[in-house]
Subunit: 407 residues, 2 copies
Amino acid sequence: MRRVNPARFRVATRATSRQINRSIVLNLVRAHQPMSRADLARMMGVRRGAVSLIVTDLLRDGLLFEGATGEAVRGRKPTFLYVDSRRRAVIAADIRATETFLMLADVLGNPLSGVSTFPTDRDPAKVVAALATRIARLLADHPEVVACDGVGVVVPGMVERATMRILHAPTLGWRNVDLHEALTQATGLPVQIENSGRACALAQAWVMRDDRAGTAGDLVFISVSEGVGVGVIIQGEMLRGRHNIAGEFGHVSLSLDGPRCSCGANGCWEAYVSNRATLARYFGRQAEPSGPIRAEQQHFTMEDLIARARAKDAKAAAALEATARYLGLGLASVINALDPARVYIGGEITLAWDLIESTVRSALAERTLTAAAADTDIRPVAASEYPRLQGAAALIAAPAFAAPVVA
Amino acid sequence: MRRVNPARFRVATRATSRQINRSIVLNLVRAHQPMSRADLARMMGVRRGAVSLIVTDLLRDGLLFEGATGEAVRGRKPTFLYVDSRRRAVIAADIRATETFLMLADVLGNPLSGVSTFPTDRDPAKVVAALATRIARLLADHPEVVACDGVGVVVPGMVERATMRILHAPTLGWRNVDLHEALTQATGLPVQIENSGRACALAQAWVMRDDRAGTAGDLVFISVSEGVGVGVIIQGEMLRGRHNIAGEFGHVSLSLDGPRCSCGANGCWEAYVSNRATLARYFGRQAEPSGPIRAEQQHFTMEDLIARARAKDAKAAAALEATARYLGLGLASVINALDPARVYIGGEITLAWDLIESTVRSALAERTLTAAAADTDIRPVAASEYPRLQGAAALIAAPAFAAPVVA
DNA sequence: TGCATTTGTCTAATCCTGAGACAATATAGG
DNA sequence: CCTATATTGTCTCAGGATTAGACAAATGCA
């Protein structure tokens, strides 16, 4: 039951029904391709004639294409329809503190190129220049891509919704940076910029995975890295909030008098489970957001710590175990608050998922209200899946498949 | 941008456009009544002819009615349209631990009767019987009500979505109670049952208030009483989650080693700010969920405590102050998580809102990430507004105004 | 009284779904 | 090979909705 907002609504016109059904056809083909017009008609419960008209439209607009005729037990063989991902592509960029990742993908999110990386400069202008030349080279290397639909960029920071200005990206040291304008100018392509945790959630909802149709139901993506970034999808739609900063579960408190967090407060979830917190725990320091780091610790990463834990280093295992416990306790807050159908977890810590899962689960069960909530589906997403780049690709590719806004 | 769920979608039929626009017309009249067909056409950006057809439908179905002709500076005078709330009514019931509240309201949520109360029996069957006789009497006392659209019931507990069984209502001592079936049988009316915190949020979104159109944007209702109940409205729709238990912010942790909560965990927000916690703080006990209460404390209520605080009782003021601080700290978690446009607060503590507001605000500001988030609109809802009964009324009255489900 | 303005209704055009007929295509069986 | 059956995709007509525009009714002003 949705309330109609009497200050902002969309009236239905003669074309509205067609738009709705067109969107459904497109999404069904995306989820079940290949499929025939007759399949669509059966699944939608409409006549084949109506489907034919819509499909003709989508063929003309280049969103679908007809492949070979399929096999049928009896009768005329069906013409198979596919989402046309042959000549169109999107560019995905993931700007992180030290490195920037770049990839070419088709409109379904499948990689068309390998992932290339280059060091991230502190100067936004230089990042834009580097991106522009590498994007040009990437497109030149793939002449089969006739049309590039745009560039999706994800950044570890807050992004203003309307202008896409990067308001604050602490690990990059950027404040109020207009990457959008600069990159649009430099590439001549449409550009979308989004917070990385949020984009990861978008990717899980849109990109085809094992279940082939994207994740149904409410979902949460929790990215555990330098900080804790969270993206939330409710009813197929991104949770944004009034100021486009919803989903900051990383700064929900675990303990009011807990360790200092980078946000200035004490005892945020992030202060317990970020990579920095885990490493600090290993090195026996109090988890301080900006304490001095000794030389030998400077290049010691989360991956190293996990390797030592696997090599029976008791201190490393204990540090990981503690993080796992806090991860589960914080997850309980997320699950109590949102009761999602599924939680995805990304970040380096997923490398150790087999070591920590049971601890996470038992900590979660300590604080959830019902057994069903404690059993919430939790799935680690490996770094090798490049969830951020998938999210960046989805920023450009997904809108074509979005439901029309109505009422 | 909403994803289409390829497993559960709604195809547009010939009637869909009409349903959409009919819903918009109905909501516009509700928000701006009285208004003419020409007003509607201007506001919707469609021809007057299209509006006339829809209005004719709505008049025939008894959802609108034509009032007197209005005044116009020049030209033909308009015929004013109103939502027809003359002969139809809904019954609202609020079942609480000690008392049950009952009221008759029109479909806009306006009270048609006073609020009557009776003691709540521990036996659900007796509650149903008492409700049925009192509902019959209420309707007999209001012969002007020709049609009663149903009975909305709110309870302090978890309600299963599909069957509306009350899974667990701790303060009532009810587990797995099928009030819905029994009350439908006893009254012969449609019955809707919902958790009270959630229904309160629904009411704020649907019932006309100062802004006349219900609250726009995402909103949260936080009901502070025996426990902490939270209802969340996102994009005009109730946040339910997979198991219909979303919104349990009352059990988000403030401090992992904090006081014991009724849910079994430690340091839940509820364990810091519930009435019981505040009273326990006043009496110098550790806030225990089920500790023994001495005789002189048995009938000492939150209202009494607030009265003493106003009478310069330092201990009472301190207890209230502490609760205010924890209220603000927990609010920060809610606001960081959801970034709502507005937060409503209900419960006895709102009686002291003038005393505690600044403390709540400063505690909130300690833990929010941006200044804008710290400035989130927070509005106390007085008990005299009967937010729970308004929510119960909305359970029945709102569906007629809901947007059609599409795509 | 004549004119301008506004409201509400009515008609024709256009677009979309709903229902069903029809040709094309393929298999099964005699 | 021929016929019956089944399936796909197209086409036509009917029904219903919005869009555009004409028109009568109602009202105020000069």
